[in-house]
Amino acid sequence: MAAPMLRLCCPGRRWALACIDGCSRHRRGAPNGCTSSRKRGQSSVAQQPFITAQKPRKGEHEWAAVVGLEIHAQISSKSKLFSGSQVHFAAPPNSLVSFFDASLPGTLPVLNRRCVEAAVMTGLALNCRINKKSLFDRKHYFYADLPAGYQITQQRLPIAVNGSLVYSFCAGKNRSQVINKTARVKQIQLEQDSGKSLHDDLRSQTLIDLNRAEGQLRVDANISVHHPGEPLGVRTEVKNLNSARFLAKAIDYEIQRQINELENGGEILNETRSFDSKLGCTIPMRDKEGKQDYRFMPEPNLPPLLLYDTESLPAGADPQQVIDIDRIREQLPELPSVTREKLVQQYGMLPEHSFTLLNEVGLLEFFQNVMKETRAEPKKVTSWVLNTLLGFLKQQNLAVSESPVTPSALAELLNLLDRKAISSSAAKQVFEELWRNEGKTPAQIVSEKKLELMQDQEALEQLCHAVMEGHPQVVMDVKKGNPRAINKLIGLVRKVTLSRADPTVIKEILEKKLAS
């Protein structure tokens, strides 16, 4: 069961963001706003009031919404947070369960070093203060997917606190205006995940899988509304949202629901709701009786987690036994915002394109590999990667890594296009051929399908002349001033040339001839 969780703004099992006020999967406790101390895992994002897109009704003064997120994100590691068992996506149920995961009596948790490093990395990437000493606690409740009857988490003193995340979104007409905002990250905590429950309504039973490697996003959103200047409103919690899309929908719906409720004289209950993705609305979850008291207690089998930096590192310390925050900081990869900025600066890329490039796994690398091998303009490359390549991938629901077209192939194709060896429509054809993955290079395809642009200017002029001769009526139409007639002529020439002539050049020749 102990799949590592860092509750932070990330989905997945390994993440556990601490809930402020010890919220649970079942119920939430405290009223009034998201500013309670979620300790557990989730990095509470966005304490920033955010004006809804809806116009206030009945001429009421405006509303502000406050949203706090508790994100369960799974740490990428080979084994679980506290037990040695492996983590594999989609393994058969209960096939990756160690004695500890099954809560066999006498078993003890052993902290996974890699998970701690991952938590520190995340904390650093989110500008948090890393707590050199953090503690583990037990959070008790009874549920079938929690074999030990408690979950090990970091309620009192989590591994990282007080961070922030700057994010941008594109607004305005054409989504061309980039707005920067900051979300506060309350804390990051390491937490053990519970099992997976599968409800079999037919047989009135619940099946439990203790593997716990779902690899899914899981976010709980806390939402309240208030009038600016007034105290924060009562919040509701919408649980178990498992995609960014649903998260957005649920939040928008809930904000509006609350506004409507309050404007009609109703009140908001501090309750837990779930999101019905089909209906697009939030509905109250079945309430468990009374308040949940988790009876937090320090985890006696895990000593305090001590982290060091170069200054505090004890002399002669075994590097296997200690974690150096500074060393981890040095090894942090370039953060996305920095990468995006570089793309914009280096290639004159539009900011929104830099987002798309980074948001698709492997796409940036693909782009950079193409850039290495082509002389084509960055704008062209960007367009081909984001529109053509990505379009094809999405259509067939493929990941970038599964692309049948390699960066080299695309680079070669773009080079052909760049030196006008082929037309852009021909290039599209070549791309489609490449997609079929028959092992041919762009040059081979061009050759086989005879897609090379005609280079012989004279021959082309002759063909134009022939077409004009053959279609006097159309020529008449052009001379009469019909603007679309020229396209017909161009089309005819293209047909004759088997699309091997650049339409722009054809147009030039025709116009010259028509003029004379």
Binding site: L108, Y150, M297, N301, P303
Partner: protein, 468 residues
């Protein structure tokens, strides 16, 4: 042979005077004869005989694994033993057969010891033997004339020890003499990656030096341990022991552990809280007893736990959960932790003032007859029994009970030595010197059994005089 020390038996095995199988058979025979005592929950006869066979092979080749090869051992039934039912003497784990060995069990088996079986205890060790949370190794040792050692917390792995109070539990060692305890400790001590509370530092092998000169020693006598409930016999033996050290040149001084009177209550709060937490996993779903109700998960939990736990266990769970409630946590749990620190500091202060070891009674009196014993409820009884022993658990210190003499009734009385943290070797060295001085008589079990054969046949328990 069965009354000899580990080294003597080991030597006999090496020299071929007796084979492991013969030894094993003798043990099994006594176990059968004393079955009415209900000391064993599970006797692992087949396993033991097979292990004996393998040990014999090794001895024949001259490849014995060490001092423990072929030696019969018993393990309390709250240690996980692979393939052998482990019940913690509770209905809740009836029929539970673990798939793994506790680290300490594994270490003993790796040394060739023969596992005779799993011994009885109070349900979930809420009052007994082989693990020591509040005195459960030292108390029985004192009552039965054995050496009972509770090592320093963190020295011996708890992996596989079904926990009562994780922050106080320590695997305990019961043997006939201090030397034997040192040998076993030497096998068991050391870091276990599966138990994050074991110390990392490498552990030196436990070879006890021969102590002849105690003049450099300073023995501390905690004055708060002189309670009115202490039986006069124990008090007098305690005094005698102090005088013994003094007469041999040691410095014997009175010391104070001022927070002693709070330790029972403090222990109770912390113990029940941890117990409530540790028992949460017994829900009938993954292993152990499950009731027949399947109306809902919650109904199943409730019935399973009511059927599986006796009322002592249930009582402690309820108390513990009470103390852990949000509104009580500060006042009870946190307060108790603070008091615990004060208790631990009492010892630190005393040891820093030049005291090497503390000498105290282990129990208030000799063993009380069963009919007397059951008059008090478990909580009162525990509180009384543990009064001298649990402070060492609270402070994580090593402590050993050494049998000193027989009472007027012919029952054993032992005294306790408490040492500095991780100074188990020094502690045992002093204990061994004391043992040599007092020459506690070895029990003649065969004679005893012959004398009382009629009693045994009738399967009646009685207070039996061991007077020689």
């Amino acid at each position: 042979m069965l009354g000899r020390t580990l080294r003597e038996v080991s030597a006999a095995l090496k020299q071929g005077h007796i084979t492991p199988t013969e030894l094993c058979q003798k043990c099994l025979s006594i176990i059968k004869k004393t079955k009415f005592l209900n000391a064993y929950i599970t006797v692992s006869e087949e396993v033991a005989l097979k292990q004996a066979e393998e040990s014999e092979k090794r001895y024949k080749k001259g490849h014995s694994l060490g001092d423990l090869d072929g030696i019969p051992i018993a393990v309390k039934d709250n240690f996980s033993t692979s393939g052998i039912e482990t019940t913690c003497a509770s209905n809740m784990l009836r029929g539970y057969v673990p798939p793994y060995n506790a680290t300490v069990v594994q270490k003993l088996l790796d040394q060739g010891a023969l596992l005779m079986g799993k011994t009885n205890l109070d349900e979930f060790a809420m009052g007994a033997l082989g693990s020591d949370t509040g005195g459960s190794t030292r108390n029985p040792a004192a009552h039965c004339g054995l050496v009972g050692l509770k090592p320093s917390y963190g020295l011996v792995s708890r992996h596989g020890l079904i926990p009562l109070v994780n922050s106080m539990d320590v695997p305990g060692i019961l043997t006939r003499c201090v030397d034997d305890a040192a040998i076993v400790l030497g096998v068991l001590a050391g870091h276990d990656p599966k138990d994050s509370t074991t110390i990392q530092d490498p552990v030196k092998p436990f070879v006890l030096p021969s102590l002849t000169d105690v003049s450099k020693l300073c023995i501390g006598i905690p004055k708060e341990y002189l309670t009115p409930e202490l039986s006069s016999e124990v008090r007098s033996l305690w005094s005698k022991a102090a005088n013994l050290f003094e007469s041999e040149g040691a410095k014997v001084i009175e010391v104070s552990l001022p927070h002693t009177s709070y330790s029972i209550v403090c222990y109770h709060v912390l113990c029940t809280s941890e117990v409530a937490s540790n028992m949460a996993r017994f829900d009938g779903l993954e292993y152990g007893h499950r009731c027949d109700i399947d109306v809902s998960t919650e109904a199943m939990y409730a019935a399973t736990r009511r059927e599986g736990f006796n009322d002592v266990v249930r009582g402690r769970i309820l108390s513990g959960n009470f103390f852990l409630l949000k509104e009580n946590y500060e006042n009870y749990f946190v307060k108790a932790q603070k008091v615990r620190r004060l208790i631990a500091n009492d010892f630190v202060t005393v040891f820093n003032s030049g005291v090497d070891v503390l000498l105290t009674p282990t129990t208030l009196s000799e063993a009380v007859p069963y009919t007397e014993f059951i008059k008090e409820d478990n909580r009162t009884r525990s509180a009384q029994d543990d009064i001298f022993t649990q402070a060492a658990n609270m402070a994580g210190l090593p402590a050993v009970s050494v049998p000193m003499a027989l009472s007027n009734q012919g029952l054993p009385i032992g005294l306790q030595f408490i040492g500095r943290a991780f100074c188990d070797q020094e502690l045992l060295t002093i204990a061994r010197w004391f043992e040599k001085q007092v020459q506690f008589p070895v029990i003649q079990l065969q004679e005893l059994m012959d004398d009382c054969s009629s009693v045994f046949e009738n399967e009646k328990l009685a207070s039996v005089s061991l007077k020689q």
